[in-house]
C-alpha cells in the first residue's frame, strides 16, 4: 500500500469532473426516466398528469408494443446468427498465414467505420425498384422485381442484411483477436492424430473461441437493439405496417413524434431493465466488461 501518492483531496478533485458528468447526465436523467414513466405528458412536459403504472399496463397489454418487442427479437436473432456465422467463416480463412494477410485484414474490417445511416442510404439505393441494381439482377436471373421497402417480410430482410453488412468488420476484428488465442500446436497435434478439419473446428477451435463468440453475441444484440436506429430511420421508418418497428424506433416515435413522454419513459425503463439483464448475463458468464461505444 506504499505505492500510492499520499494526498486524500487530490484524487477526489480529479475524479470530480467524471463524477459530475455521470451524476448530471447519466444518473439523474435515468432516475427521471422512472418518475416520468408514471406520468402522462404533452407538449414536452408543459402539461402532465399522474397516472401511476398505467403506462406499463398499457404497454404490456398493447399488441403493438408486444409486436415491436417480437420484431426486435427476430431482428436481433437475424443480426446475431447471420453476422456471427459469416464473420466467423471469413475470420477463419483470414487467420491462415498467407502473403498479404494484413492487406486482406484491412479490406475485411473497414466497414466498422461506416455509419448505420450510410449503410441505410446505400441499401435504399441498391434496392430501389426504379434505379437500384439488385432488382435489375433479380429480374434478369429469376424474373422478379419486388418492392422491398413496402413489403413486410422483405423490409425486415433488407434491414437485417444492411445491419449485418455494416457490422461484419467489427465481428471479424474480434474473431481474429480470439483466434490469436487458439494455439497452432493444439490444432496441429489434433490433425496429426488424424482428426478431420471439420472435427478440429468443432472440438478445438470453437470451444477456445467461445468467450469471444459470447462477447460478440452480447455486443451484436446491443447493436441490434440500440445501434441501428439511423439505419431504420433512413430505410423504412419502422414500416411497412410496423414490420421493422423495433423497440428503439417505437420509443423515438412515441417520444418525439407523438410527444408521449410518459409512455416513452416507461419504454426507456423497460429497455434499461433489458440492458441490465444483458450485462449481468455477461458478467456472470465471462466476468468481462461491456463496451457500448459511449
Amino acid at each position: 500500500m506504499e505505492s500510492k501518492f499520499p494526498s486524500r483531496r487530490l484524487p477526489l478533485l480529479i475524479l470530480l469532473p467524471t463524477l459530475l458528468v455521470c451524476g448530471m447526465f447519466l444518473y439523474y436523467p435515468l432516475a427521471q426516466s422512472f418518475s416520468w414513466s408514471l406520468l402522462r405528458a404533452a407538449f414536452m412536459g408543459l402539461r402532465t398528469l399522474y397516472v401511476g403504472t398505467q403506462n406499463y399496463v398499457r404497454l404490456f397489454t398493447s399488441s403493438a408494443y408486444l409486436h415491436s418487442m417480437w420484431i426486435s427479437i427476430v431482428f436481433a436473432a437475424g443480426v446475431v446468427l447471420l453476422g456471427l456465422s459469416i464473420s466467423l467463416g471469413i475470420a477463419l480463412v483470414a487467420n491462415r498465414k498467407v502473403r498479404g494477410a494484413r492487406i486482406y485484414r484491412t479490406a475485411l474490417i473497414w466497414p466498422y467505420a461506416l455509419s448505420p445511416a450510410v449503410a441505410g442510404t446505400i441499401w435504399l439505393f441498391l434496392f430501389n425498384p426504379t434505379a437500384g441494381v439488385v432488382n435489375f439482377v433479380l429480374e434478369r436471373t429469376v424474373g422478379i422485381s419486388p418492392d422491398w421497402v413496402t413489403s413486410r417480410n422483405l423490409a425486415i430482410l433488407l434491414v437485417v442484411t444492411a445491419a449485418v453488412w455494416k457490422n461484419l468488420g467489427y465481428n471479424i476484428v474480434f474473431f481474429l483477436a480470439g483466434l490469436q488465442n487458439v494455439p497452432g500446436q493444439v490444432i496441429e497435434a489434433a490433425r496429426i492424430d488424424g482428426a478431420s478439419a471439420w472435427r478440429c473446428f468443432w472440438k478445438v477451435t470453437l470451444p477456445l473461441l467461445s468467450p469471444t463468440a459470447f462477447f460478440l453475441l452480447i455486443m451484436n444484440m446491443i447493436y441490434a437493439f440500440f445501434g441501428v436506429f439511423g439505419l431504420v430511420d433512413v430505410l423504412t421508418k419502422g414500416g411497412p405496417a410496423n414490420a421493422t418497428n423495433i423497440l428503439i424506433y417505437n420509443l423515438y416515435r412515441d417520444a418525439f413524434q407523438h410527444n408521449k413522454w410518459g409512455m416513452a419513459s416507461a419504454q426507456s425503463v423497460i429497455l434499461f431493465v433489458m440492458v441490465v439483464g444483458f450485462t449481468l448475463l455477461q458478467f456472470r458468464t465471462t466476468g468481462r466488461k461491456v463496451h457500448y461505444g459511449g
Binding site: 404533452a42 412536459g45 408543459l46 398528469l49 414500416g239 413524434q257 407523438h258
Partner: protein
C-alpha cells in the same frame, strides 16, 4: 469652419445610422419549406427587410412540419421560441393547447395592424378559425388533385373526365396496364392525408364532436360507411396491382413513379403542379389534371384545405409583436400572394389575386392551376370540409397509415379499421383527460 460642420454633421449621421441599425427589431421566423421554396421565402424575407428598415426578419428552415413543430416545442421549453412559426394544419389544436401562441385576431386588434380578412378565400380562413376567432394566418394552402399522363392515356385509348369516379380510376388503370404502356395505373404517397381528403369529399366528419370543433373529439369515425368504402377501393387497387405503393409518406417516390411514366396517374398535392409540368415537359409528354375521384353514387362535398399557416408566439416585447404581425400580414399581401402561387402551385389566398391572375390570362395558360382552384371553390362549407381538429393528429395519421398497410398486407378492411379506431379513440380520450376537458 464649414468643413468642421460638415464633418460633425456626417459624424452625427453615421452615429444615428448606427443607433437605428442597433434598434432594428429582430423577428425570428421558422418554416418548413425546403429547396427552391426555401430560396423563394428567403427572397420574400429580404424584400420585407428592405422595405421595413426598422425590422430584421431572420428566416430559418427547420425540416419537415413535424420537425418544425417539435423544434418550436423544445425551444418553448428552453424559453426561446421563435416569433413566427410556420405549422401544418393538423398541428392547430396542439398549438392552441400549448398556450405559447397568441391568437392572430388578438394581436391584430391589440397592435392595430391592418388585414383585410374579407379579401381572403373563405375555406382558407375557416380551417384556422376556432370558435369564430381567427387563430392563425393562412399562408401556404393546397389540397389534393389527380394528375394524369395524357399521352399514356391516349395510347391506351381512354380519356379522363373532369370529375372522375372510383370506378373510372379502376377502369383507366386496367386499360393502361393491359395496353402495356405503364407498369401500374395510379400512385399516391402512402399518407393519411388522402384518406382525410376522401372523408371530406364523401361528407363524413373524421372525428366526433363536429370534427373536434365543438369540443375535444373522443372518437374517430373509421367505421363510417364512407371510411369503409374508401379503404375497400384502396384494397381493390392494391390487390389488382393497379396502385403502386411508393412507401410511407414518400412524396418523392410517388412523383418519381409518375414522372418516369411507371404509372399513368398520381394523386398528390396541388403544390406539385409546377414540378410535374416541368418533368412532363422534359420527358416530352403531356400532363392533365382532374378533381379527386369519388365513388359512384356519392355526392361530392369538396376537399379540406391542407398546407400551413403562420402563428405568432406571445411573451415578446410590444415592438417585436407588432413587427411580427406586420411580417405575417406582408407574406400574404397580393404581390407576395401571386408570386408564391405562381412559383409553387400553392393557392392564391386573396380574391384580388385571383382576379388579377385571371385578367393576366394565367389560368388560360395554366389550366392545371385552374383545376385546383375550381375544386376548392366548389367545396361546400361544412364541418367535414372545414377539417378535423385534434391534439393527437400525429397519432391519428400513424394509426391510419398502419391500418392501410395492414389492409394491403392481407388484413380485412373492417379488422384493420376497428383496430386503428381503438388505438385512436384511446389517444383522443387520453388527450382530453390531460387537457382537463
Amino acid at each position: 469652419m464649414k468643413r468642421v460642420l460638415v464633418i460633425v454633421m456626417l459624424g452625427l449621421l453615421v452615429f444615428s445610422g448606427l443607433v437605428l441599425a442597433q434598434e432594428k427589431t429582430k423577428v425570428v421566423f421558422w418554416h418548413a419549406m425546403s429547396g427552391t421554396r426555401e430560396a423563394l421565402i428567403q427572397r420574400m424575407v429580404d424584400n420585407f427587410n428592405l422595405t421595413h428598415p426598422g425590422i430584421e426578419v431572420v428566416a430559418e428552415y427547420k425540416g419537415s412540419y413535424r420537425d418544425t413543430l417539435n423544434a418550436a416545442q423544445a425551444a418553448a421549453v428552453a424559453g426561446n421560441a421563435p416569433n413566427v412559426l410556420h405549422s401544418f394544419e393538423v398541428g392547430t389544436q396542439q398549438l392552441l393547447d400549448m398556450g405559447i401562441f397568441a391568437l392572430a385576431q388578438d394581436v391584430i386588434d391589440q397592435y392595430g395592424v391592418v388585414i383585410p380578412w374579407q379579401d381572403y378565400l373563405e375555406p382558407a380562413l375557416n380551417y384556422y378559425k376556432i370558435g369564430g376567432v381567427q387563430a392563425s394566418f393562412p399562408w401556404n394552402s393546397s389540397n389534393s388533385i389527380l394528375y394524369y399522363n395524357k399521352t399514356l392515356l391516349d395510347k391506351a385509348g381512354v380519356t379522363m373526365p373532369r370529375e372522375p369516379t372510383f370506378e373510372d380510376i379502376v377502369a383507366i388503370s386496367r386499360a393502361v396496364i393491359n395496353a402495356g404502356v405503364a407498369e401500374g395505373g395510379i400512385t399516391w404517397p402512402m399518407h393519411s392525408w388522402f384518406f382525410e381528403q376522401w372523408m371530406a369529399e364523401l361528407g363524413a366528419n373524421l372525428l366526433n364532436n363536429d370534427n373536434g370543433r365543438s369540443g375535444y373529439a373522443t372518437e374517430i369515425n373509421l367505421l363510417d360507411p364512407a371510411a369503409v368504402t374508401i379503404m375497400n377501393w384502396w384494397k381493390q387497387l392494391y390487390d389488382e396491382g393497379l396502385w403502386i405503393n411508393p412507401g410511407r409518406e414518400s412524396w418523392s417516390q410517388a412523383r418519381q413513379n409518375f414522372t418516369t411514366q411507371r404509372v399513368a396517374m398520381m394523386i398528390s398535392s396541388t403544390s406539385d403542379v409546377n414540378l410535374t409540368q416541368n418533368a412532363a415537359f422534359d420527358g416530352g409528354w403531356e400532363v392533365g389534371t382532374a378533381f379527386m375521384p369519388v365513388p359512384l353514387g356519392f355526392d361530392r362535398h369538396g376537399v379540406v384545405i391542407g398546407g400551413g399557416s403562420l402563428w405568432l408566439t406571445k411573451g415578446h416585447s410590444d415592438a417585436e409583436m407588432k413587427a411580427a404581425a406586420e411580417f405575417v400580414v406582408y407574406m400574404s399581401q397580393v404581390a407576395q400572394d401571386i408570386t408564391w402561387h405562381q412559383s409553387t402551385g400553392y393557392f392564391a389566398l386573396r380574391k384580388t389575386s385571383l382576379q388579377a391572375l385571371d385578367l393576366e390570362g394565367w389560368y388560360k395558360l395554366h389550366p392545371n392551376y385552374k383545376t385546383a382552384s375550381d375544386q376548392l371553390a366548389e367545396s361546400q362549407i361544412s364541418t367535414a370540409t372545414q377539417g378535423a381538429l385534434s391534439g393527437v393528429f400525429p397519432d391519428i395519421r400513424t394509426y391510419i397509415e398502419d391500418a392501410a398497410e395492414e389492409v394491403y398486407g392481407g388484413a380485412s378492411v373492417t379488422d384493420a379499421l376497428t383496430k386503428a379506431k381503438g388505438l385512436i379513440d384511446q389517444a383522443l380520450v387520453d388527450y382530453k383527460e390531460l387537457m382537463g376537458g
